[in-house]
Point group: C2
Chain length 147, copies 2
Amino acid sequence: MVCYKFGKKMNNNSIFIEKLRSSGLRPTKQRLEICRLLFDRKKTFHFTITDLCKIIKKEINKKISLATIYNTVHSFKKKGYLKEISVNREKSYFDTNTSDHHHFLDIKTNELIDLKKEDVDKINIKKNLPGKKITSIEVLVKIENNN
Amino acid sequence: MVCYKFGKKMNNNSIFIEKLRSSGLRPTKQRLEICRLLFDRKKTFHFTITDLCKIIKKEINKKISLATIYNTVHSFKKKGYLKEISVNREKSYFDTNTSDHHHFLDIKTNELIDLKKEDVDKINIKKNLPGKKITSIEVLVKIENNN
DNA sequence: TTGTAATTTATAATGATTCTAAAGTAGTGT
DNA sequence: ACACTACTTTAGAATCATTATAAATTACAA
Ligand SMILES: [Mn+2]
Ligand SMILES: [Mn+2]
Ligand SMILES: [Zn+2]
Ligand SMILES: [Zn+2]
């Protein structure tokens, strides 16, 4: 749902309004504010709900309740506009990049960095489990500072 | 620390006692009971702390306090006898297989299944981040029932 | 046996997430 | 424009997992 997906970056909300409507979600003030914060950016955004709460508090005049933030993020996830990336017990990230892709994780800062699918040679799983099919393959590459 | 790592399966605790001592952990009744439950088995064991609490309640006569269970699992992890595998927000597993390896995750049952390193062709990351080095590469293969 | 530090324990505190039920709002039809 | 209804937001409570606290117990070395 990242804004530039639908053409040039927009200064208005019409794209979001349309997108929300087409998903059966009413374009409320709260949802639109959150859309702007999440999707009105060029780069992938990785955030925890706690991060998002802080950003909202800083950037938005009117308060958005915690329950609404949770509801909104979860409905965006359900509609496929966000992907959830679980890196450890403490941190579950949501990702505005909903394409099939992998991640670097800086184990000191917990920063996530996108790895395009093309950045990783095709993963070949030699073992197969009878009666099961593979639905996704995710690679997490943990990194830390050199030296 | 899996028991058979040190030779044939033992019926006594001497191996655990020795191993704990050599790690600077006193071999208390509680730690030994937990060792038995976790490591006295042939197959890799994947468990959540909640799982372990239930098993302890069922299999052990004397109660072990919740705090001790947490402390024990975390110190075993710190000493390298357990590995933590985070699959989603709801589930963080500990793994008695501390070797470098990957996992299948059944997305319906949340069951983890080990994938030996040899079961996955060598992962080649084409992108590299200046100033960072890779410390591990983990693959999570999500699966579900066929049909 | 004694002294000390490590460990266990019950319980409280914290923090994140979900639930609840009441108030507010958006879209529909008139 | 108005009213109706379903959807949404909200504050606050409830729940759940995890961590902190501080007192009692235990391991073990002297
Ligand atoms: Mn979710
Ligand atoms: Mn831990
Ligand atoms: Zn990403
Ligand atoms: Zn494993």
